[in-house]
């Protein structure tokens, strides 16, 4: 009888330990969002489309209004998706910097608008900077912990 009670108590203790451990794992150990495949794809697609748009700046700004608006919408959607994810402060701030009014991309678009068209040397220099900004977002997403549901 005493052995049966001891075995029962051990079972209860084990269940508590498992429950407590699960609670720790679920609640206590995330300081940043986990990897999200959709967010990763948004960022990589937006990078390709943005750099392709920048290549067009050797021709007049006015000829590409629709392309510019399409890329700006794509960037807004990608940023908004990340904005809705919990514990995603760093990625949100990265998007805010990339899309900022006085950020690298917007200043490029303003120069294009003001000048009508830009030199390929300047375009390539700016493309390298914008690519680095996207790479920061993409590399951070890649570096987040991968979970079965996020992949």
């Amino acid at each position: 009888m005493r052995e049966q009670v001891r075995a029962m108590n051990a079972g209860i203790c084990k269940s508590y330990a498992i429950a407590l451990s699960c609670l720790f794992l679920a609640a206590g150990c995330s300081t940043i969002a986990t990897y999200d495949q959709v967010a990763y794809e948004h960022a990589t697609n937006a990078k390709v489309d943005t750099l392709a748009l920048m290549d067009k700046a050797t021709s007049p700004y006015g000829d590409h209004i629709k392309d510019i608006e399409a890329v700006q919408l794509e960037l807004a959607k990608a940023a908004e998706y990340d904005n809705g994810r919990p514990l995603n402060h760093y990625t949100i701030e990265l998007w805010n910097t990339l899309r900022g009014q006085n950020g690298i991309l917007n200043r490029f678009l303003m120069s294009w608008k003001k000048s009508g068209s830009l030199s390929s040397v300047f375009i390539n220099d700016k493309k390298a900077h914008v690519a680095r900004e996207f790479d920061d977002i993409i590399q951070l997403e890649s570096g987040k912990i991968k979970t079965p549901q996020g992949q």
Partner: protein
């Protein structure tokens, strides 16, 4: 391509950074100088490239200023990425620690 003395530009910039830090900060002066030098070092390759492009007439002075202004955003973005990656590494480590604790606790119970 015109020959540009990049080491002179860097030396002048470094002296400017030291002067700026000394006139701006009292407590954080040493850290500010170190940060300024690190920023200058990170932007060195771009500075050399854009200075040569400017001297060769391939970009305008406004475009040169614009490109150098980008360096601030690039440094900020790099710092944000590194901070985020540090959090991810911390989470990963803590998950490992918890797994070890769970295994140890469960194996201690008969």
């Amino acid at each position: 391509m015109p020959d540009i003395d990049i080491s002179k530009i860097l030396k002048d910039a470094e002296q400017g950074i030291i002067h700026l830090a000394e006139t701006t900060f009292t407590t954080y002066k040493t850290q500010a100088i170190a940060d300024g030098k690190a920023f200058l070092n990170a932007a060195k390759a771009d500075l050399q490239k854009y200075t040569q492009q400017l001297a060769a007439g391939q970009i305008t002075p406004d475009e040169f200023r614009d490109l150098m202004q980008d360096e601030g955003d690039l440094a900020k973005m790099d710092a944000l990425k590194e901070a985020g990656l540090a959090h991810a590494a911390f989470d990963n480590f803590i998950n490992g620690v918890i797994s070890i604790v769970i295994t140890a606790a469960l194996s201690a119970i008969p």
